[in-house]
Every structure is written in structure tokens, then in C-alpha cells.
């Protein structure tokens, strides 16, 4: 079969750690072959024993040894995932989706993460800082119980000389940071060149309207998926340039292209 297979999309990864970091939110470190990951904002599709469809989860960060995912328990599949232990193995379809186009980002990028849309922003922030760009991060959560990774984002700039990262946090109930939504944290940021966002659709819509085509954004969408790699056309959206598959043409789409 070796001369038939051209690309090993389905990789076996080993769980290194799996810990709770917020209410129903877990961080899992996996080791294995990450060579198919090419950009922040891509995702993997995880096979779970006893469940038919795979679970598509964004990659938060990766290196040559492995990757980190941060996921919320929203159903039976993610519930099972949250109980898995170090040493257990998972088959994952790797490097799915287009990810964020960091080369096209300007000199001061606003990154917006809403709830469990936050994880891919971490790897994205890391990459942009490495490229010498200025990054401002705005995170929105429901309450202090849901907040995670604000320290980790702040720590990103510590190792990079002459660089800094500003992190603003909003909670809907005001129990941490600014009371309100991410759009309540955008004052004094008129000098951003562009923005990248990942989070619930109401948040993406609010940002899209706030910047009203004055700033271009890259928006990471989500949709219920079948295959996750473009075969079944289950996850389509309409865009200004036609029908697109969230799993393959996305999940990141330009604000110029989406219909919101």
C-alpha cells in the first residue's frame, strides 16, 4: 500500500497532558508528527472511540514535537476527551483548513478571541510577534470562571526584545476586566492596521460592523462538519466569491469576502 499513499493525513498523536484550565475548558498537549501544520488557525479532526464523526478542534500552538489544543466540553465527545490520560493515543486528521495569513497582516494587528475562540489566537500572536509585528489582544468571556490564557498571552512578549503585547479582557458580567463585550475594549486602537478574530458568530458580526470595512479582518468561522477536509460539502457558507467550505477554503475568511 506504500506506493499508493501519497500523504499521511491521519496521524497517531500521544497525549502528554490534559488539564482543566477554566469552567469546562481543557488544555491538552499532544506529541507526534506535526509536519502537516503550516499556519496558526488550522485545526485537527480527532477520532474518538465510540463516536462516528470526528471532532474538529483548533490548534492553539504547535512546534516540531507536538501541538496544544484547548477545547470546551460541549457534548459527549468532548466529555470523553476531557477524561483521557497521558499516554493514551488519538488518531487525528492533521493540518486542516487554511489558517491565518500572517504575511498579509500589517504592522499592528488586533487579535480578538471570544470564549473558546481564544486558543488559535495564541499561536497567531506568537507568529506575528516573531515577524516583528505589534500585537494587541482582546479577549472576551462570559465571566471570570471562563477566563483563561490572559497570563500566557502577556508572557509571549517577554522573550522578544523591543516588543510588547497589550492584553485587554472583557467579561459579560464584569467579574473580571472590563464589563461588557470585546467591542467595549477597542478604544484608542485606531492605529491598528488590521484584525484577526475567532469566536461566536455574534462576536464576529459585531466586530465586522464596528470596523465597517475601514479595517480589513480575517475571521475564523465554525460550522458543523462531516469530514473536515472538503469531501462532503456539509459545512458550506455563501461568500461574495461564491460557495465556500468552512473546513477547506476556511475556516479563516477575509472580511471583504464574507456575508455577515
Amino acid at each position: 500500500m506504500d506506493n499508493i499513499i501519497k500523504k499521511e493525513l491521519d496521524q497517531e498523536l500521544t497525549i502528554v497532558s490534559n488539564e482543566q484550565i477554566a469552567d469546562k475548558v481543557f488544555k491538552m498537549r499532544l506529541k507526534g508528527d506535526t509536519s502537516l501544520l503550516t499556519a496558526p488557525g488550522q485545526f485537527i479532526n480527532i477520532k474518538l472511540t465510540g463516536f462516528y464523526l470526528r471532532r474538529p478542534i483548533s490548534v492553539s500552538d504547535y512546534d516540531s514535537e507536538g501541538l496544544t489544543i484547548i477545547y470546551k466540553v460541549v457534548g459527549q465527545g468532548t466529555d470523553l476527551l476531557s477524561t483521557m490520560k497521558a499516554g493514551e493515543k488519538l488518531m487525528c486528521l492533521m493540518g486542516l483548513g487554511n489558517g491565518f495569513d500572517t504575511a498579509s497582516c500589517g504592522t499592528h494587528v488586533l487579535l480578538v478571541g471570544g470564549g473558546v475562540g481564544t486558543p488559535p489566537m495564541y499561536g497567531l500572536a506568537k507568529e506575528l510577534l516573531k515577524q516583528g509585528k505589534k500585537v494587541t489582544v482582546v479577549l472576551g468571556f462570559n465571566s471570570v470562571l471562563d477566563v483563561f490564557y490572559d497570563h500566557e498571552f502577556r508572557a509571549l512578549a517577554e522573550e522578544i526584545p523591543d516588543n510588547s503585547i497589550e492584553v485587554r479582557v472583557a467579561t459579560v458580567d464584569g467579574s473580571f476586566g472590563t464589563k461588557g463585550f470585546v467591542t467595549d475594549c477597542l478604544t484608542g486602537l485606531d492605529d491598528i492596521t488590521d484584525y484577526c478574530a475567532c469566536g461566536p458568530m455574534p462576536m464576529l458580526k459585531a466586530l465586522y460592523r464596528y470596523y465597517d470595512q475601514k479595517k480589513t479582518g480575517q475571521l475564523s468561522f465554525e460550522e458543523r462538519m462531516g469530514c473536515g477536509f472538503g469531501a462532503c460539502v456539509g459545512c458550506s457558507i455563501s461568500t461574495n466569491s461564491g460557495f465556500k467550505k468552512v473546513c477547506k477554503d476556511g475556516p479563516v475568511f477575509s472580511s471583504d469576502d464574507v456575508i455577515l
Partner: protein, 304 residues
Amino acid sequence: MADISTELSGIRLDNPIIPASGTFGFGAEFSHLYDINILGSFSFKGTTKEPRFGNPTPRIAECREGMINSVGLANPGIDKVISEELPALRKIFHKPIIANISGFSVDEYKYCCERINKEDQVEIIEVNISCPNVHAGGMAFGTSPEAAAEVTAAVKSVTDKPVYMKLSPNVTSITDIAKACEAAGADGISLINTLLGMRIDIRRGRPVIANKMGGFSGPAIFPVAVRMIYQVYDAVNIPIIGMGGVSTAEDVIEMMMAGASAVQVGAQNLVDPYACPKIIERLPILCKELKIEKITDIIGKAHG
């Protein structure tokens, strides 16, 4: 080494494995993963006269050992399929292909089949009659022998390639539908399409998919598919392409013993992109274990 080649209406296939329409696009998502020329053939995405976005999302739901889809025949329309998809497909796949045609009126089926009939690489036309007839209150063509026969005859009148009618299982008597198609001139029967199913999200108290109901597929429907293939094999004298929850080489043998001459693999491609090469690799090994020298010897064997 067991001979796993088979034949449909005089068309020789290297093996019985055919990815099912709607799970394999036009091959592009798989051709960079493995050499898709190892397949027997494949049935391309269901094509309609007009381009279609399909149904609103969400249009995928999970089931135990299966899934529901209400994709709704999302496709670029016959014009683009002929002008763009088929030339692109020709570059990556060099074997006979099965065209899958859907329609919402008899005229639409005729229009699309007449056009696809001119395409050289298409060697079988698979007609999906699980579509609603907009001229008959949305009743699916495949739910009545008369409507199924009408579509069959209409398509046969505009084509000279073998026509396989793809049947819906959501009927009282699958054999009545199959017999009506055969009498109207069908060259073969393809079955089963998806079962009509539904899931409800208990957290929201609403159906999971926007369309409320959709097509249930995957391993859970396999026994229904095997039963229907068995029944249709008894009822008609034309070849059968079997499908419905096939995920292993064992399933392929089982379906062929029920009466299938070739077997389509659908939902399994979604959860394991390498499903078909794995089955093709195992099939000769399994045949050897079961002392099957030529796979076509077992077609309909379960009928005794």
C-alpha cells in the same frame, strides 16, 4: 491471488469498490492523499440542472454508528460540471466514471442525462430518484413505481449509456420500485440511498439540522441495505450496485453475496479518508481466507 475484478453492463472494473456520490466530490480531496486510480470507479457528486447551494446549515448531525446529512445536492450545476469538473477529473482519474444525476422534474432529468451522455469518460449514468418532484407536491420520485418508471423511461430515451436507477429505501416495497424501473428499461439498480432520519438537540430542544430531517447513513443502516439488495436481486434480472454503511472488506463480500455486482463506499470516506484503499488492500486477503478464487463467483451466493 484472488481475482477481485467485476463487471457492470459489460464495463470491466478492476475491483468492486466505488466511492458513493456525495462523499467523494470529483476526486480532488482524495487524489492528493492516495492514488485514486486504484478504485474500481467512482460516482461523482450529484449534479442538477441549476447550481445549488443546498440546504441551510447546520446540515450534518452525528448518530451512533452513522450520521445524518441534509446537504441538499449542493453542486455547481451541469454546465460547470461538464465544462470544468470533468476536464479536471480526467487529469487525475483514468478509469470509467459513474455520473450521478438528480432532478426535480422529469424534464430536468432528461436535460441533464442527455448532456452527460455525451461525456466520454462517463460510462454509467446513475439516476438519483430520491429527489422531490416539484410537479407532484414534492413527493420523491422514488417512492412510487409509476414515477420511478417515468423517470427511467425518460432518461433511457435520451441516452445510450447504461442507466442505473438509484433507489430510495424510504418505501413500502423496494421490489415494486425496482421491478418498475427494470420494466421501464433500466440497465441496473443502485441501492440504497439514505434512510430518512432525525436528531434533536436536547440542550436546545430543537432538531440538530436546519432542515429538521435528513439522510441517515453509515454502518447502522448496513443491515437494511443488505436486506433490500437481497430482495431486489430476487425481483429483477439486471445487475445491482449495492451501498449503505459499507466500511470493511467483509461488508463488501456480504453485500455481494446478497446480490451486488459492485459496492459503493460512502460515509466511511468521511471518517476515514483511506477507507477505500484499506478495503481494496484487504479484499484479496479476505477472499483467500474464504476460499473465493474469483469475487464474481459469490454474487448472489446467499440465495442458495
